[in-house]
């Protein structure tokens, strides 16, 4: 994986994390966590549309929409699960607005490249990998229709 194949926002996020020491990476993850957008009203009352990410210890639900060739990603996780919210927020900010192909081309091991293993433990990072995998599967389902 190299920066030229990675969507700009994801590459920037990775650079930001890697430029920091381990303790500060946690703070940056917390900032991402606080930035996870609220669900738009039209989805707020539709828990049925959302898929639970089983790989995460805390409940997180994701929903992908493809409109006019662009991917839109919605995620919701409780405030008591800031790590999971942070993971979701990194992906929402990094993937929203990309084309379906761009999302599908994101390397599956992107979450492992952020330097978070030492900050939150490799086991926890696995939750983000699961999230990315499920997002890609939903994208495939949406464009297959």
């Amino acid at each position: 994986m190299n920066a030229t194949t990675l969507p700009a926002r994801l590459a920037e996020t990775r650079e930001d994390f890697l430029a920091l020491g381990v303790r500060d990476r946690l703070q940056l993850l917390l900032e991402f966590s606080n930035e996870l957008p609220e669900l738009p009203e039209r989805y707020a009352d539709h828990p049925d549309l959302f898929e639970r990410v089983e790989e995460c210890q805390s409940p997180v639900f994701i929903f992908v929409e493809v409109a006019d060739g662009r991917v839109h990603l919605y995620a919701t996780a409780p405030a008591e699960s800031p790590t999971t919210r942070g993971f979701a927020s990194i992906l929402v900010q990094g993937l929203d607005g990309l084309t379906a192909d761009e999302v599908l081309d994101v390397p599956a091991d992107y979450p492992q490249s952020l330097g978070l293993g030492a900050a939150v433990s490799p086991l926890r990072v696995r939750g983000m990998t699961g999230m990315l995998g499920r997002i890609k599967r939903q994208v495939r389902e949406r464009i297959a229709v």
Partner: protein
Amino acid sequence: MSAEFDAAAKLAEYAHPERLVTTDWLAEHLGQPGLVVVESDEDVLLYETGHIPGAVKIDWHLDLNDPVVRDYVGGEQFAALLGSKGIARDTTVVIYGDKNNWWAAYALWVFTLFGHEDVRLLDGGRDLWIAEGRELTTAAPEVTLVEYPVVERDDRAVRAYKDDVLAHFGNPLVDVRSPEEYSGERTTAPAYPEEGALRAGHIPTAASVPWARAAAADGTFKSRAELDAIYRDEVGLADGDDIIAYCRIGERSSHTWFVLNHLLGFEKVRNYDGSWTEWGSAVRVPIVTGEARGEAPAR
């Protein structure tokens, strides 16, 4: 230099009331010299969103597990960790955390492996503190570094290995996982990630008592009478029993270990931290599927 014990009436019913403090007690004693409050959560970032004023954080993954061997940290690492948190050997440590003190109990159990004498849980944990509208802060605590002695871990009293479990048949085993994990429908807690066990089911003869049955709705421990009804009357544990508790990686069973040992006064209770992720993948160990406890294997 240990802090006075909490004399709350509810705690006095337990076998070792000195192992718990109430939120009232903690609010009153915050900042007292010789007392350090530790937050230990499942979510590694939760502490950063707000914690009890002055509390330090200890993370089960990053601080207590050895990064290479599947084991706990050794004496030198533990000494460095505690010294960096301002904890001396004679400090009173009160641990609290999310999810009914699930991870707090795990941290307390690891402190016990190192023989830290005065370590207590906050009854009700983080959730009760917040529900009562008590103060949280994001301000980093002022920690005075202290010297903690290098004490080698002594696993014998409260930790069981796989071979100990194999030699234990005929004595009580308590499986504290969900009913679905016990029966073998799945290898992970509902809604939890797969942590790799190749077989599903339980250790023969183990009684199923999901750990959270020991917690009341507000996250505090159930009363002595309620706990006795579960573990003595229903499961059949009796004074003098040699008991091993297990779950999937040893954290939920730390909670049950705390209940059996400190609240109900069973003197010989060990936590099998290898738990199902070891047993369910080990070659040629006996397992049982379904709801029945099953028979002890012939030797």
